[in-house]
């Protein structure tokens, strides 16, 4: 066993990692494709952060944009007003993301399923409204730009896309490691217990409140940090984008669900499907009519859910089982 993985899995991960490291050198470093790959990595990381709450804790959050947007604004405003490096700003972004997650945990502690989804949706919208109306702080609906600085690692700004790619890849690896670490730890077992039977969990000594808050805060901190990544990559954002229900909240949840909620590889698979799909739909259809791309995308989502509500991983397992049954005849 290497790092807790079977040797087969370890080889698989090593191969994938190797491909990921080499891939960007095979394509145009200034091109469009590599930007899509960067977004794919970033959204996979975001999906993985969501996965901690949505997959491990089984709480459907539709408001993760709140933490993401707070993170993006925190580091960017610190940069604009105090010239603080985005890396330091990212620490603050994570802290504020975690605080926000803590704040929303309290009133939603006893909610499950649809009720929880609704409450978190409302929270995300609260942040968006605040972002749009508190113009003196956030610049309002017009949005905010990351000030231009000489390209450097210290200031998290680069001329080429390649450095961003590797940073996003590193972020994805870190978030995934955190996910797996939690899954295997005491907290992971406790979350599983809470997912299955809250009363029984409490009776055998699981502090359900503290465990749930922990998962929420970790998820919030990570989303906040990823908000900084986004800001530094896109150079510009507005409240409707970073606090958006469709653009962020639903998307990151969708990525984790489509890929396989609760699994470490799920968000990665999901992002590999969703992000390029969206781009393809945009490219193929946007020219003809506004909305067609999104329409196709929404229809695809519906089809995926109808075919296998538990996502690609489960679909894959089902296919494997069917294959095995057929082979043993």
């Amino acid at each position: 066993m290497i790092l807790g993985m079977t040797s087969r899995k370890a080889v698989f991960v090593a191969v994938v990692l190797a491909i990921a490291l080499v891939l960007p050198f095979t394509i145009d470093p200034r091109g469009y494709t590599i930007r899509i790959l960067c977004l794919m990595l970033l959204f996979a990381a975001m999906g993985q952060a969501w996965n901690i709450v949505g997959g491990l804790a089984n709480q459907m959050s539709l408001g993760h944009a709140a933490f993401f947007g707070i993170g993006a604004y925190t580091s960017t405003l610190l940069l604009i007003h105090f010239g603080i490096s985005p890396w330091i700003g990212m620490i603050a972004a994570g802290i504020f993301g975690g605080v926000a997650a803590f704040v929303i945990s309290l009133p939603t502690m006893r909610l499950r399923g649809h009720y929880f989804a609704l409450a978190t949706l409302a929270f995300g919208e609260v942040m968006r409204v605040i972002g749009n109306s508190w113009s003196s702080l956030t610049g309002g609906p017009v949005g905010v730009s990351v000030p231009f600085a000489k390209p450097s690692l210290a200031m998290f700004q680069f001329k080429d896309t390649l450095p961003y790619y590797f940073l996003m890849l590193a972020a994805l690896i870190v978030v995934t490691i955190i996910f797996v670490a939690i899954q295997r730890s005491r907290i992971g077992y406790r979350l599983q217990a809470i997912k299955e039977n809250v009363d029984a969990a409490e009776v055998i000594g699981v502090d359900t409140t503290r465990t749930k808050i922990f998962a929420a805060v970790v998820s919030g901190v990570l989303m906040g940090c990823l908000g900084t990544f986004y800001a530094q990559f896109q150079y510009f954002f507005d409240p409707d984008t970073v606090f958006g229900v469709a653009s962020i909240s639903v998307r990151v949840a969708m990525i984790a669900i489509v890929g396989g909620i609760g699994t470490a590889i799920g968000p990665i698979l999901g992002a590999m499907f969703v992000i390029p799909m969206e781009e393809l739909a945009n490219q193929a259809f946007s020219a003809q009519a506004a909305g067609l791309a999104q329409l196709v995308f929404g229809a695809l989502l519906i089809v995926v859910i109808l075919v296998e509500p538990r996502g690609f991983v489960e679909f894959g397992r089902r296919m494997v089982r069917r294959f095995r049954k057929g082979a043993s005849r």
Partner: protein, 286 residues
């Protein structure tokens, strides 16, 4: 005096909110599914009424039954093709199906109707009745009366018709209902179609004082959910109480806050209700 005016306006608007939201609570009560795309059917109802006005010269209030009928059929279709299949799936899948439906409907509308905002003009649009020093806006009043009428019709339907009672039976005890020969699937379809059609009806009725665009649904999503959660998910009477409350809250907060923050008050109320009393003021059936 401004406060009394606000409360009056709020009650009238609230009556409409109630009718718009009854569909949401009906679907949840009978099927246990929260339809995140409900507000899109509102938008569709508004568009049906708009085109009835633009092409046929029909007043939106007269076109409301037409909007009801059209969306009823659409709702039955949507249930048959999609909703039915996630009835037993985990909540995650249900939520995502209706979210996907939201995306599809909104963008289909965008494609068909374009993104511009449109409004109708009716002869009574700016008129108001005067009651002492209070003004009663005629469009509000008419919308309110139509809502009351449709609400009463629904109440009668649920109480006295076979379908209505069968739906309630399915909601309360699916097993027993089945044993009585009630086809649960058909009841679900009826509930869903009825629910979205009522929301569309409400949309037509508010067209005289609002503008319509494919994105108008978004403004109503949290509002509708606040109404049903406040009243209790699954309780039709609750939707009425919730609707009136939300109307008044919105109206009063318009006095104190600028337009962008008005919704904020609503959201905070929403989260507060979920935190403190998720079963709502009247306690839901689930």
């Amino acid at each position: 005096m401004a406060i009394i005016q606000a409360i009056l306006d709020g009650l009238m608007i609230g009556g409409v909110y109630a009718v718009i939201s009854i569909g949401l609570t009906l679907v949840f009560g009978v099927m246990g599914i929260v339809n995140f795309a409900q507000a899109e059917f509102l938008m569709l109802g508004m568009f049906v009424a708009y085109y009835a006005w633009a092409w046929l010269g029909l007043d939106p209030l007269l076109a409301a039954p037409l909007a009801f009928a059209v969306v009823f059929v659409l709702g039955a279709l949507v249930h048959q093709v999609m909703i039915r299949r996630v009835l037993k799936a985990p909540a995650v899948a249900q939520i995502f199906l209706t979210v996907g439906l939201l995306i599809v409907l909104e963008n289909a509308a965008l494609l068909m109707f374009g993104s511009s905002f449109r409004s109708v003009s009716t002869p009574y649009q700016t008129s108001a009745l005067q009651l002492g020093s209070l003004f009663i806006s005629v469009p509000y009043l008419l919308a309110f009366l139509m809502s009351v009428a449709s609400g009463a019709a629904l109440w009668l339907f649920m109480r006295t018709s076979w379908f209505g009672r069968a739906m309630r039976a399915t909601a309360q005890d699916p097993m027993a209902a089945r044993l009585l020969g009630i086809n649960a699937d058909a009841m679900h379809r009826l509930a869903f179609a009825l629910g979205v059609a009522l929301t569309a009806f409400g949309g037509a009725v508010i067209l005289p004082y609002l503008t319509v665009s494919p994105t108008v649904g978004g403004q109503f999503v949290v509002l509708m959910f606040t109404v049903v959660v406040l009243g209790g998910l699954g309780s039709v009477a609750g939707a009425v109480v919730g609707g009136l409350s939300v109307g008044v809250i919105q109206s009063l907060s318009a006095l104190a806050f600028p337009i962008q923050l008005q919704n904020l008050v609503l959201f905070v109320v929403f989260i507060g209700v979920l935190a403190l009393r998720p079963e709502g003021l009247l306690g839901g059936s689930r």
